[in-house]
Symmetry: none
Subunit: 193 residues, 4 copies
DNA sequence: TATGAATGAGTTTTCATTCAT
DNA sequence: TATGAATGAAAACTCATTCAT
């Protein structure tokens, strides 16, 4: 046998890793973190239990990696927003980008919300709340201040509730929940208004 | 010494039961169903593991009892609503009653939402969705139909999202989330409008 | 209230004791020693769990007492046999007495065989094999010796097997197993022959 | 190092499985089903408790496998008997085969009788009484009918008692009970006679 | 004497993780 | 790198026994 090149190995590793991550995503999202056993994930991925630990340090680590593919993308996006400065257009971009990512990957997002709500598992991962997240919060508060004056805080909380409600309802029911319609109503209420 | 009377035992049992339920509520709400072990709950309640099974048949049963104190109250309320017929006033009553119960017992409601989102544990308990729940859904749909015409469905989904978003945000942060303000905005948007 | 006399207490104690023993007999015979819980027995007897320990030292003790009511009666009978000397008539008496006691109290005997077969529980109780038991074995061996000569040992083993087989089949199926017919065949084979 | 091949694993598994089954057989036969704890069996087999569940689904399953090695062999034999038609020769074959299997594997048979007598555990396993068992019962009844006329039923019950008595006495005392002699007497009484 | 609440050691079972190959 | 057997700690649950009243 001709020895594989380093690159070939690298490619294989990544394929395997993706395979495992994909299996883990489905099992976690369907059964929750605790009920999802390493065995089930391994079986679904078509690899041995032992191999899992070649790619991931632990079950927690597996979850961490899955969530970070969401978190990182989000942070990156927020960074972009923050750099450009925040205005009505940016606000709408936030909404549209959220809709797009939700639709592109409902399973990941379902997992994200599932974990976000079960504080225990999640908190560890999110201590590390990004700097752009902080800045983003400031900016959006300023945006509401400009738009609604002294009602800003109330409106911001309301928007947060509406927005998270929509996301939650969608990930729990991606087939039937009319995300696009909701997006329109959201824009109507918080952008055009 | 003569033994305790039946009444004395009854009182003791109820005290203990409450004690255990209270401990269970906290541990479940803080750690989720799976991470909450009977041992932890027993320790928190200050009783032995074994005693738990004197009062509740199983861990599931413990959860069931906790959730039913929420579900039953809700069903009862819905029955009242359904009986009276549904109109603007009833709609507002639903909102106000929800706010009131959320504030009265945020921990129970936190547990309720936690479980509702982790389908697995919950489904079993709620197969038994009450008849009034069904009727209530019909009525509220009719209400939206009357109010918004062909936009009814969209608006209903939107309302559902907003409402659940508010409840969710409140139970996750009962100290800081301004529930009363949200109630006002909700009424303004879906009742007075 | 007038204080009860010592005698009255004694009578009550014995009634209670009988009540408990009877309940224990049924539960043990129906569910086996290990599956029979003290709770079930107490419930069946209509007394509290605690009271059981007022009358019997332990679950083992309860079993011991039950078995001894069988064992003692048997030993007493054997003593009688041994005293009178062993002959054809005595042999038939053994058979008839066995049939009579089996029919009079199949539950006790069922328990007896159940326990006899599960060596563990039983051995402790029966270390104390009575002197008359020993003598009886000698005598019956002599009886077979006289009757069958050098075939005695074989015939004795055969008789033992037949006899225990009959008893076993009867206690497992007291309603349908024709004990009287078996008795006749037994006598025909080992007495008249 | 390269991993073991499938065949190597297969061999290992079978060795281990046999090891565990053997340990289980001894512990069950010595202590009965309930007193035999998985811990004890594991210790005797020299493996961890956890490993037991890699090979058997549950304690019940362990018992089931042990008993089925008896039951299946028996059913197979009966099928053969049924096919060939039942006559004096077949009857003798039944006896001889029983003697042979009893001697070949007294521990298994001891377990079998132990469980058969404790109805509770057993019933579940044996609901599945084989069709050949049913046919066999018919045939043997017919055989007795032909041989003894109107006494058939009595004689059949007697034979059942004798036969089960012999088997029982042997498995409880395989070292000392003269099985071969009993076989001869049995044949003499129920075949040649 | 009588009650049943309470305990704690023991049971079966699960599963993330390790390890020999 | 890859396998799956093996471990061990922890889970839910049971039950004989004790104890305060």
């Amino acid at each position: 046998m001709s020895p594989r090149t380093k690159e070939q190995f690298e490619v294989m590793r990544n394929q395997r890793k993706t395979l495992i991550l994909d299996a883990a995503l489905h099992v976690f999202a369907e059964e929750g973190y605790h009920s999802a056993s390493i065995s089930k994930i391994a079986k679904r991925a078509g690899v041995s239990k032992g191999l899992m630990y070649n790619y991931f340090e632990s079950k927690q680590d597996l979850l961490r990696v899955l969530l970070h593919s969401i978190i990182d993308e989000q942070n990156e996006f927020l960074e972009g927003i923050v750099k450009k400065g925040f205005n009505e257009k940016a606000f709408q971009e936030v909404i549209d980008h959220t809709v797009k990512t939700l639709k592109a990957d409902p399973k990941h997002w379902k997992l994200y919300f599932l974990m976000a709500i079960q504080t225990e598992v999640f908190e560890v991962l999110l201590k590390e709340q990004s700097a752009s997240m902080q800045e983003y919060k400031m900016m959006i508060y300023q945006y509401f201040k400009d738009k609604y004056g002294e009602d800003a805080e109330k409106k911001l909380h309301y928007f947060t509730a509406v927005f998270s409600g929509i996301r939650m309802n969608f990930v729990m029911n991606p087939e039937t929940f009319p995300l696009d319609d909701m997006r329109d109503l959201l824009v109507e209420q918080f952008v055009k208004e």
